[in-house]
């Protein structure tokens, strides 16, 4: 069985850099972008290797600030 394919989008300006999403990703692709800060002054959460995303929604489930929207390939 092929792995599910997913995609996450970050509404970056809402992010407070709390890092909870980084603890919930089963494929460990959610990271904090230490090179940038958002309008609130935090390093925002981001994903570098989106091709690994399985669209499980865990990151969005634990995010307290409604930063993340998740898409998944449906067959």
């Amino acid at each position: 069985m092929a792995k599910a394919k997913g995609k996450v989008r970050f509404n970056e300006d809402r992010c407070k850099g709390c890092e909870l999403c980084t603890t919930a990703c089963p494929v460990n692709i959610v990271i904090m972008d230490k090179k940038r800060i958002n309008v609130k002054g935090y390093n925002p959460a981001t994903v570098d290797e989106m091709e690994k995303c399985i669209g499980c929604g865990n990151c969005a489930t634990i995010c307290p600030d409604l930063v993340i929207e998740v898409e998944r390939e449906t067959k």
Partner: protein
């Protein structure tokens, strides 16, 4: 690709004022999602407390009523008795519900008021600056228990759900946690059930949600999740304390 997770219609677009990593935001979202899934956003009237979630009236996308400290269950009683076909809920913290508002919440349960209470227990007063709550753990430091809570002078932490389980009118009582994804999903199920019990007119329902307060605990957000799991859950065991029998 289809969107499988987006902001619920049960919440407004307003950004939460909560501190980074505070799990109030998760609990707000779960309530909003449940209201949307049960198709009751338009029928809902929420009652906001005093405390960190005092501004909850700006976040839920339904009619809202801001109560005085601890009085949300009395306000909700007034609303629900007049509008029995609406869906009424209170959202209260531990200072609000377990300290200043104990009389109001106990008697709302005692009268089997048909509304739903979301009780957020983070073992501390957040908004006022980290003072000791009735739910603060033994040894836990707060700005009014600086050497750690001492049982000899301040008593043992109050277990509210266990107390509700002794009140006949409280037909749904469950304690949940939001420290990881699996528990967040369980918490949502409990919140949904509590609202369903209201829709079925069975009595009072309450979900106690163990929550974090990274700022006043003085622990980073991710470590706060671990602290909750290792310190709060052993004293405040998760689980269902009361559920209406099916088919009754």
């Amino acid at each position: 690709m289809a969107v499988v997770f987006k902001k619920t219609e049960g919440l407004t677009d307003k950004q939460f004022h909560y501190c980074p990593g505070c799990t109030h935001g998760i609990i707000h979202r779960l309530v909003g999602e449940v209201l949307e899934e049960l198709e009751v956003v338009g029928k809902a009237i929420g009652v906001a407390p005093v405390g960190c979630s005092v501004l909850a009236y700006d976040y839920f996308n339904c009619d809202m009523h801001e109560a005085a400290h601890g009085r949300a269950p009395a306000v909700a009683t007034g609303i629900k008795r007049i509008l029995p076909d609406n869906v009424v809920f209170t959202y209260q913290g531990d200072g609000d519900l377990a300290s200043i508002g104990t009389a109001e919440i106990i008697h709302a349960a005692h009268r089997a008021e048909k509304f739903t209470t979301i009780f957020v227990n983070n073992a501390i007063y957040g908004m006022t600056g980290g003072q000791m709550a009735p739910t603060t753990l033994i040894g836990q430091k707060s700005t009014t228990s600086q050497a750690g809570r001492d049982a000899a002078t301040t008593g043992m932490p109050l277990r509210m759900s266990e107390m509700f389980a002794t009140i006949d009118g409280a037909v749904f009582v469950e304690r949940v946690s939001v420290h990881d994804v699996a528990h967040i999903r369980k918490a949502k199920k409990a919140i949904k059930k509590a609202f369903e019990v209201q829709l079925e007119g069975k009595g009072f329902g309450i979900v106690e949600v163990l929550s974090t307060c990274p700022t006043n605990w003085g622990i980073a957000p991710v470590e706060s999740l671990t602290w909750l799991k290792e310190n709060m859950i052993p004293y405040y065991p998760l689980g269902n304390f009361r559920t209406p029998e099916e088919g009754k």
